[in-house]
């Protein structure tokens, strides 16, 4: 297996990607562009959505929180899978960088999940009349937050970086199976007891004028997520490689990246 990795040329990119130093330098080149893109998209989406999109017939202006809520929720979920995949790659190919990405994805994801819950709760007050209901999606989101927190806590509870990385990767993988199960089960369990009075997707197929800014926001948030992930990963790389020659050179005012 190892020999395969070493000799097959098609694996070279993979190996290079595994080098923290290469990644640090490359991501340094991508970052300004990505940040710029994220900023423009988010600003456009926000101004468009909050200022120009038509008002909702039933919900009035309160619906505008959708422009925050939906992208954040999407990314909170997607972020978990990104984290789990990074962990799996780390476990299988013993790739240091992959663990660093996983470690960076945990706080970002946890923050996004919290934001999703928070925006949802704020939105819930005007629409449902209460901040909180035990609906399938809401519950699975809460459990997602717990999973994120568990991974964060586990990571920091270990003294040894290596053990912490492997442990959180294992937990992330076990959790991956859990999210769909939770979602399905809560959905099923809720409908067993009473008809679905509250559905998140109650908004009838959206008006295109409302939907376009939402799309912009979603793409913008994806870019923002990438930027955040890169920043956290770079910080982790510096911390982890602080003893290596290239980081020392960097700290001593080496070539700007």
């Amino acid at each position: 297996m190892n020999r395969l990795l070493n000799w097959s040329p098609s694996w070279q990119w993979f190996h290079r990607l595994g080098s923290p130093r290469w990644f640090y330098q490359a991501s340094g080149r991508w970052l300004p562009w990505l940040s710029l893109l994220a900023l423009t998209l988010l600003l456009t989406g926000l101004v468009w959505g909050l200022g120009f999109a038509p008002q909702d017939a039933k919900q009035g202006n309160s619906f505008r929180i959708i422009y925050l809520h939906v992208p954040v929720s999407f990314l909170a979920l997607a972020g978990y899978y990104i984290m789990a995949i990074a962990g799996a790659i780390g476990l299988i190919w013993k790739m240091k960088l992959s663990y660093m990405v996983m470690k960076a994805a945990a706080p970002v994801g946890a923050a996004l999940t919290f934001l999703a819950l928070f925006t949802g709760a704020v939105w819930g007050k005007p629409t449902w009349g209460t901040y909180w209901v035990w609906d399938a999606r809401v519950t699975s989101m809460l459990i997602l937050l717990f999973l994120y927190l568990g991974i964060l806590a586990l990571q920091y509870a270990f003294h040894s970086n290596e053990a912490g990385n492997k442990a959180s990767a294992i937990l992330a993988l076990v959790g991956t199976a859990n999210i769909p199960i939770i979602y399905k089960s809560v959905d099923w369990w809720y409908t067993l007891h009473q008809p679905a009075t509250i559905k998140l997707t109650s908004a009838p197929s959206m008006h295109p004028d409302m939907f376009a800014p939402l799309l912009v926001m979603i793409v913008g948030f994806y870019c923002f997520y990438t930027v955040a992930l890169l920043l956290f990963t770079r910080a982790e790389i510096l911390r982890r490689e602080r003893k290596s020659v290239w980081v020392r050179e960097l700290a001593l005012g080496g070539p700007a990246l």
Binding site: A153, L154, H159, I170, L171, I182, W189, L192, H193
Partner: protein, 223 residues
């Protein structure tokens, strides 16, 4: 030695037998907390009956969770775990043996004593059989999932509550289907559906959890 399965099963049962008082604790915890409920919530039997399936399940879950903590901790402290890690056999088999022993001294007695709590919490007649069946399958799932958490936290001194953070989210599907089994029986629906799902979860857990625990245990020596 069947890859260590039966050896570890027997040893852990012997250890539990030597500390009978301790081994009975989850059971007593289960009973005791269930008596706290009427004190804290309501003594009216009508309202108790409504919440009984859920309460019994939640308490069974907590009792299992609390005893899971000790699954590998003693072995870690006295060096037995290190010996296990360098033994030639596949690690998953001894782990499965230990989990089975754990279930036999916690989940099984809990299941057997649950009808008593049903009486105390005025559980309706139709609920007893599904309660027994769902607890039997469900607590086995809980022991298996708990083993993964216990293995992950074994090298962290006093990981007991961290453990609950890790495994509680993984426990949630079990409790949903567990209490749904009982609830649908009480409401007059067929209760094989949720029970079958519990069975499927158990099958998956038997296959995967010992492997995940074995992987996690190897981390203990690195830390």
């Amino acid at each position: 030695m069947h890859g260590g399965f039966s050896a570890y099963l027997r040893r852990d049962l012997l250890l539990a037998y030597r500390r009978r008082g301790e081994a009975a604790s989850p059971l007593i915890f289960f009973i005791m907390v269930s008596t706290l409920i009427p004190l804290g919530i309501t003594p009216e039997s009508g309202r108790l009956a409504e919440i009984a399936p859920g309460i019994i399940w939640v308490m069974a879950l907590l009792a299992t969770l609390l005893s899971t903590d000790g699954l590998f901790a003693n072995d870690y402290q006295d060096g037995s775990l290190e010996q296990l890690l360098i033994s030639p056999q596949l690690l998953a088999m001894p782990v499965l043996g230990k989990v089975t022993a754990h279930w036999m001294v916690t989940g099984l007695p809990l299941t057997l004593v649950s009808p008593l709590l049903g009486v105390m919490l005025s559980l309706p007649q139709e609920g007893y059989l599904p309660l027994l069946a769902s607890l039997a399958l469900g607590t086995a799932c809980l022991s298996l999932i708990g083993a993964v958490g216990a293995a992950l936290t074994v090298s962290l001194r006093r990981g007991g509550l961290l453990l609950s953070l890790l495994v509680m989210p993984l426990y949630m599907p079990v409790i949903i289907f567990g209490s749904a089994t009982v609830q649908s029986a009480i409401d007059g629906f067929v209760w094989f559906g949720p029970l079958a799902i519990l069975g499927a979860m158990l099958a998956a857990a038997v296959a995967l959890c010992p492997l995940a625990s074995a992987g996690a245990l190897r981390l203990a020596s690195i830390n």
